[in-house]
């Protein structure tokens, strides 16, 4: 056993506590309840649990490989980088033991014995894949972060983050997209056995093999990239850099008269409502997760996500700060058009992500919901309109849900 692996196990022993054992037991208990109450469709349950597990493990491997707490120490030593990465993967697995155990317990509640065994196999594969595929993607992101050929692409998507960080920001999503497709197939095979069942474990095998070559040079290079990120974050003291936000590069494609208003909305909206805007990706992925097993509910989830994010337009209109109102001359039509362009763009992850899985009708329905939400903002002028919007959106969704039921 290599010295890094022994150290990882030694660290694990030093941290094992009764509270941690209790945490594993509690997680397993909750998972059992979830599994027994929501386990009517074994494939759907397996997909949801395995995707959540793989996604979380992807984030854990970032912490263990790139942001390792002992990186400052190890980076000064002559290392076998592949051994360090293998030990980091083991560390990540060990630290997420409660989650892995809970995922196993959740699908162990599946009543049919054959389906139960296959579901457990998918969870085991998701564990292996979440650890290895995401590790490989993170190491690839390190190389991408310093590759001059990728600079233009990273600048396009980095928002106000340092360029090098853009590669890290999108890496978990890439890993989850790859893994999610494999897990969707494998989860379907829980009910109807097929070769798709082995795709995740095959992917994990390929990624595990690739970790060695990918880690060469990349583990050390990650220290340099992190150093650059920390240095660039110091640029936030620079007012011009501070004003950079996601999508501000796209303003140039709008009509000239819209641009100042669009830029104002991009900046104000991003600072005040960043969680909703970035949450559009989460809502889109949730709609995908629901839509895999139940397409009609996937469409409902898509419309709910679209209405939620489109509500930002009404919220911006009804709670606009006086100093923002004073910065530019009043031009109602132009202002509203710019806001529709900005908020419409923010809505797209919530619509297009599920649209890829559920097809054009779902995407069109989502876009219709976005348009309705944006139209509503044209009549909203005062604070009570926010409540009215929420009520209207809730009633629309309730009617839609009732129709499906």
């Amino acid at each position: 056993m290599n010295v890094h692996l022994r150290l990882a196990l030694r660290r694990a022993r030093s941290r094992a506590t009764l509270a941690e054992v209790g945490g594993v037991a509690a997680a397993c208990g909750m998972a059992w309840v979830v599994g027994t109450t929501g386990g009517g469709d074994a494939s759907a349950l397996t997909f949801r649990v395995s995707t959540a597990l793989a996604g979380w493990l992807g984030l854990a491997t970032y912490g263990a490989i790139v942001r390792a707490e002992d990186r400052n120490l190890l980076a000064l030593l002559p290392l076998d980088e592949a051994a360090v990465v293998r030990a980091a993967v083991v560390t990540a697995a060990r630290e997420q033991l409660a989650l892995i155990a809970a995922a196993m317990v959740a699908v162990a509640a599946v009543p049919d014995p054959g389906e139960r065994v296959r579901a457990l196999g998918v969870i085991a594969s998701a564990t292996a894949m979440g650890l290895t595929v995401s590790s490989a993607v993170h190491l690839g992101a390190v190389r991408l972060a310093r590759d001059p050929r990728a600079a233009a692409l990273l600048d396009l998507v980095r928002g106000q983050n340092p360029r090098a960080q853009a590669a890290f920001l999108y890496a978990p999503g890439v890993a989850l997209a790859v893994g999610g497709l494999a897990l969707a197939g494998a989860s379907t095979a829980v009910g109807q056995p097929s070769v798709a069942l082995v795709v995740p474990i095959a992917l994990a095998g390929v990624a595990a093999w690739a970790l060695g070559p990918l880690s060469l040079g990349a583990w050390y290079e990650a220290s340099v990239v992190l150093g650059e990120i920390d240095a660039r974050l110091a640029r936030l003291a620079d007012p011009l850099e501070t004003r950079r936000v996601a999508l501000d590069w796209a303003v140039r494609f709008l009509p000239p008269s819209w641009r100042p208003y669009a830029l104002r909305d991009l900046r104000d909206g991003w600072r005040a409502r960043r969680s909703v805007i970035t949450g559009a990706y989460v809502l889109g992925l949730l709609a995908v997760a629901v839509g895999v097993s139940q397409p009609e509910w996937g469409r409902v989830a898509t419309m709910a996500g679209a209405l939620w994010v489109a509500g930002v337009a009404t919220a911006m209109t009804t709670s606009e700060l006086p100093f923002l109102r004073a910065t530019l001359p009043r031009r109602d039509g132009v202002e509203w058009a710019a806001r529709v362009a900005v908020v419409g763009a923010w809505c797209q992850p919530a619509v297009l992500l599920p649209g890829v899985l559920l097809g054009a009708p779902a995407a069109l329905a989502g876009e219709a919901a976005v348009s309705a939400g944006l139209l509503f903002s044209a009549i909203a002028r005062r604070a009570p309109w926010r409540g009215a919007y929420m009520g209207w959106a809730a009633v629309s969704l309730a009617l839609l849900t009732w129709g499906f039921a």
Binding site: L73, A75, L76, P78, V224
Partner: protein, 223 residues
């Protein structure tokens, strides 16, 4: 080397031959830590190269680190291990057999078997220094390494560093304490606003010593 629009280091050309002790001095923000982090391979320069014993730090990171011992400003040690276990780990990574000499450098006595998380700042720093010396490196880089040491320990470490230099090894010590550098260094490099403002031998300092030189160079840059 740029930090945004701030020029952290510019046109620094520094060669440290075997058997030389270089004291790196400058006010806070002069670029000392940035320079040492580049030498340690933790930051990449925008242009130029760094090599240790002829090995490029960025082209062959593991190879360069075989010739380098380093103690950063914040000493990095495994807090859940004892000093003995920590040194044994570093020794195994570096392919060194015995940690007895390193334990003597750390001078921890029976505390060597207590977890490092129970150590004082000075004890941690001595442990980190012992780990950096385990493999008898060609170049030892110390960033404010004498901070937190009590006077007897600081004197002992200064003696240890001088002995290494006499044995033909190189040492670079960064500090903002002029007296420390004047006492042990063969050569003093003053950094100001990321540039080498002076590169002198202690014998060339003249009246007023390093304090006067330091004041003359840095006075226009402070404030």
């Amino acid at each position: 080397m740029m930090y945004g629009k701030v020029l952290a280091l510019h046109n620094v050309d520094l060669v440290v031959p075997p058997g030389e002790f270089v004291g790196l001095i400058g006010h806070n923000g002069a670029g000392k830590s940035t320079l040492l982090r580049i030498v340690m391979g933790l930051l990449a320069p925008d242009s130029g190269r760094v090599s240790i014993a002829g090995v490029d730090v960025f082209a062959d990171p593991a190879g360069a680190r075989r010739h380098l011992g380093a103690v950063p400003e914040e000493p990095a040690v495994y807090e859940f291990l004892s000093a003995r276990e920590h040194l044994e780990f570093v020794a195994e990574v570096r392919g060194v057999g015995d940690v007895g000499a390193a334990l003597e450098v750390a001078d921890l006595g029976s505390d060597a078997d207590r977890p490092i998380r129970e150590y004082s700042q000075g004890m941690r720093r001595r442990t980190a220094l012992a780990a950096a010396l385990l493999h008898d490196p060609d170049l030892l880089v110390l960033d404010e390494a004498l901070n937190g040491l009590d006077p007897p320990s600081a004197a002992r470490v200064r003696g240890l560093l001088r002995a290494r230099v006499e044995a033909g090894r190189s040492v670079v010590l960064s500090t903002h304490v002029a007296e420390t550098v004047e006492r042990v260094a063969d050569r003093i490099v003053v950094l100001a606003r990321g540039r080498v403002a002076a590169d002198v031998r202690p014998g060339e300092l003249g009246d007023g010593g390093l304090d006067r030189l330091f004041a003359e160079i840095l006075a226009p840059t402070v404030g």
